[in-house]
């Protein structure tokens, strides 16, 4: 008692705060309602949103950016709806992902979907076969889905992706 309140923060937290959505990280009081609400935490041995935010507040920059944990958030936002301090772990981890992507750390599963998206303009081009087309025809639905596969190329400069993908 009588000592100053410990308010953890770090240059990493400040760096994330500069990315829209990341700014709320410094409001976290580490109560843990996010982990308690989290469906992923219930079944994963490693994913604990409170702990991940603590690592950000303590400045564990390299560890957090290279980790796959920030990519495990389902963005279901149940924790966000319950957080009384106005922190959205989904938004904080989006900010982490954007920073991680700039430094080349994007999980393979995400890179694969991005490759399909860049090629076709949508993510299920490979799965749309004659079989599905027939079902649509039987249902009286349009079979020519007419996706635009050019617009994504205009956005290339904003998407940190490897050329071979």
């Amino acid at each position: 008692m009588g000592e100053s309140v410990h308010t953890p923060t770090s240059s990493f937290a400040e760096e994330l705060a500069a990315i829209p959505g990341g700014e709320a990280v410094n409001k976290c009081i580490q109560c843990g309602i996010c982990t308690a609400s989290c469906a992923v935490a219930r079944y994963s041995d490693e994913y604990r949103p409170r702990q991940l935010i603590q690592k950000i507040l303590l400045g564990e920059r390299e560890e957090v950016l290279k980790s796959e944990l920030p990519w495990l958030c389902m963005t279901c936002r149940l924790c966000e709806e319950r957080c009384q301090e106005g922190v959205s772990p989904a938004e904080v981890f989006h900010a982490v992902r954007i920073l991680a992507a700039r430094e080349g750390h994007v999980p393979l599963a995400f890179r694969q979907v991005m490759a399909a998206l860049m090629r076709d303009g949508w993510i299920l081009g490979d799965s749309y076969t004659d079989f599905e087309e027939e079902d649509r025809e039987d249902l009286g639905l349009e079979t020519d889905l007419g996706w635009n596969n050019e617009f994504l190329h205009r956005l290339k400069q904003y998407l940190p992706l490897e050329e071979d993908e």
């Binding site: 990315i19 829209p20 959505g21 469906a39 992923v40 219930r42 079944y43 994963s44 796959e68 990519w71 495990l72 389902m74 963005t75 279901c76 936002r77 149940l78 966000e80 709806e81 959205s88 989006h94 992902r97 954007i98 992507a101 994007v106 999980p107 599963a109 995400f110 979907v113 991005m114 998206l117 303009g121 949508w122 993510i123 299920l124 799965s127 749309y128 599905e132 079902d135 649509r136 039987d138 249902l139 009286g140 639905l141 349009e142 889905l145 007419g146 996706w147 635009n148 596969n149 617009f151 994504l152 205009r154 956005l155 904003y158 998407l159 940190p160 992706l161």
Partner: protein
């Protein structure tokens, strides 16, 4: 509202076309004409969303600008699509810098985002634009003696400040629609929890366990059918029931809300794609007064 533009998204047209067909048939029955959107891209949810805010905003911005040209609101039937379009609309409406940046990109195609059109999730169209009383008036063959468990879909109802659908902690639109159609809705543990679908890309095992927990809770509550308002949730809650860990349990039919409402509105079974459902919905249809559709 008498006409709306359907943004189909990537998954529904390929993996759950019955949802698309049932939605078009039900809305038309209720006086809303549905027009397709073409020449659009994926909404970018989860993937582009995770790596670039401006690219994500531009993808939604372009879809919204195209709807502005038509002068019609957008109908989204997928939680991820409705979430993306609404989150980015909110950003573009409140952040001038982002809007300017996106409009510079869109200008190359002669498009402009001004914020004129709304993004409506299917549940909003049914509950607010058409209204419960209109739906009730159109029911010709109500269900009798059937219990439903509603699953809303995280991105449909959260974050509430932006998406403005129902009540994020106690949603009731699906329950109310089902009751209008004669069913009894049951509450169950973890009703507002996720189906696990967004975890499939990173960890299928965890995704499956999350979905199975939901199925177990629904079963304990004694529901005969699970009703959904997002194709990802529908597909996920169906496929987890085919996993080995659940092989000995009875499978509970999963149906999009419009596919469930269709027969009660007197719409032909063929137009609703009921024969395409992986889990046979006949026990549900048998509860229609006067027999199956």
């Amino acid at each position: 509202m008498n006409e709306i533009l359907l943004y189909r998204g990537c998954t529904t047209p390929v993996r759950l076309p019955a949802y698309e067909a049932a939605t078009i048939a039900v809305l038309e029955k209720l006086g809303v004409k549905v027009r397709d959107m073409k020449d659009v891209t994926c909404c970018g949810a989860q993937y582009v969303e995770s790596i670039s805010q401006i690219a994500f905003a531009a993808m939604s911005g372009r879809i919204l600008a195209m709807a502005e040209k038509e002068g019609l609101d957008i109908l989204a039937i997928c939680g991820a699509c409705s979430g993306s379009l609404k989150i980015n609309k909110h950003l573009l409406d409140h952040n001038e810098e982002a809007r300017g940046q996106v409009n510079d990109i869109l200008a190359e195609e002669g498009l402009k985002y001004t914020g004129k059109v709304r993004v409506r999730h299917l549940l909003q169209v049914l509950a607010e634009d058409i209204g419960f009383s209109e739906v009730e008036r159109a029911i010709v063959k109500p269900y009798e003696g059937i219990k439903i468990a509603a699953h809303y879909g995280c991105h449909v109802t959260r974050p509430f400040e932006i998406v403005q659908v129902d009540d994020p902690e106690n949603p009731t639109i699906i329950d109310q629609l089902a009751e209008i159609a004669g069913a009894e809705s049951v509450d169950y543990a973890g009703k507002t929890r996720c189906c696990g679908g967004p975890m499939l890309a990173m960890d299928e095992k965890i995704a499956t366990k999350i979905g199975q927990e939901k199925i177990k809770n629904v079963e304990v509550a004694g529901a005969d059918v699970i009703l959904t308002a997002c194709e990802f949730c529908d597909l996920q809650l169906t496929q987890v029931q085919f996993d080995e860990a659940m092989s000995s349990t009875r499978r509970i039919p999963v149906m999009p809300i419009t596919q469930f409402l269709g027969p009660a509105l007197g719409i032909d079974e063929d137009r609703l794609g009921l024969g395409l459902n992986r889990i046979d919905p006949s026990p549900v249809l048998d509860a229609l007064q006067g027999g199956s559709a």
